[in-house]
Symmetry: C2
Subunit: 190 residues, 2 copies
DNA sequence: AGCCTTCCCTAACATACATCAAGCACATTA
DNA sequence: TAATGTGCTTGATGTATGTTAGGGAAGGCT
């Protein structure tokens, strides 16, 4: 389990043994069952979470109570209410387990201490954030310029692990289309 | 001119006179004419820019040569190819002046020195970035869930200064709709 | 003044997608 | 076993929006 996150990080920065251990020492293991909430609105968000195994989704409820899925996360992804985490504001999102999941929690305060002691971790997390930013821009452009079919194909290419594990209705929600439309699109590929 | 940016910053953090002067000393004034490019693709992006007056837009060209507008900027906004600026990668965007514009340039290297000498500036720029992140999420949800009319209304509410100065065809492009659709929507409001 | 652009609007038509309504497969529970 | 619920599919229909085509107003240029 711990090897997994080290591999993940060492794709970007090199760590020696003591640095690895120092990093591992600030993580906590979390187990969460299907349908359980990791985060709910109006809380402080003091941690972000690395997914060792399982599957989760982040969503918010609008004025009419409609659910809007913002993000999925499977093995090797990070999840949280990042805006609340970064800005210190209260959460607006739900983060819910779609499967029983095994997570590693990293607290903001520990992360800041880590940055001071081993500055190259700042590089890792900065790159991670920039990548998220780029992905977000890609998603906007895709939503604005492409039709449902193209967006579904893109989704399958980008997130094959997710497409196979998440209910279709959730994928439709994430793509901003109806389950009926998604069903018709999928039919074309048989 | 310089007062403007100080006011802008002092909405978030307090500065004494020497801090104000130190900040001003790292800025350069830039004048750019309508249709001139501030940034073009495949360059290093070493600066971000505060708009004192004028109006600019950031866009990219897709495989087919179609323009997709990512962002506008008017007085009191910041503009750059932020992904390239933050990540150190080459630019992918064009940033072009829609009107003759007066900018203040701030270089990344100077910014980092500033952070070390006066850490509260880091707070200002972190908050600015988080706000941008939230706005981006809002734009995604709006693109996925709302119809053209609602999105145009939102746009006018959020950016009244822009709606009045930018050609409608550019607004349509930003919203991911055709100029014809936008024209139909605007007609309803007469 | 006359001639281009550029920008915006309008209308007729085509189409992608949502909505509404129903049925089926599969799992869960009584 | 029957009863119920959940998720996926299908078809009929309506509507928002794109597409195509053309015209007209404002401003810049010769």
């Amino acid at each position: 389990m711990q090897n997994k996150i080290l591999q993940h990080i060492e794709q970007v920065i090199d760590l020696d043994l003591s640095e690895e251990n120092e990093f591992l020492s600030i993580l906590s293991e979390i187990r969460i069952s299907k349908r359980e909430l990791l985060i709910e609105p109006r809380q402080e968000v003091l941690s972000e979470y690395y997914v060792v195994s399982g599957c989760l989704e982040a969503y918010y409820l609008d004025e009419n109570g409609n659910r809007h899925i913002i993000q999925f996360a499977v093995e090797d992804w990070w999840i949280s209410d990042f805006e609340a985490f970064f800005s210190g504001s209260k959460s607006e999102l739900f983060v819910e387990a779609i499967e029983n999941s095994h997570l590693l929690e990293i607290q903001k305060s520990n992360l800041e201490t880590l940055y001071k002691r081993i500055p190259k971790f700042e590089r890792f997390f900065r790159i991670k954030t920039t990548n998220a930013f780029v992905a977000l821009r890609g998603r906007i452009m895709s939503a604005l310029q492409k039709n449902n079919k193209q967006r579904y194909i893109e989704f399958c290419e980008q997130y094959p692990q997710i497409e196979q594990r998440v209910p279709n209705s959730h994928i439709a929600n994430y793509l901003g289309i109806t389950p009926e439309s998604l069903s018709r699109i999928r039919k074309e590929f048989l």
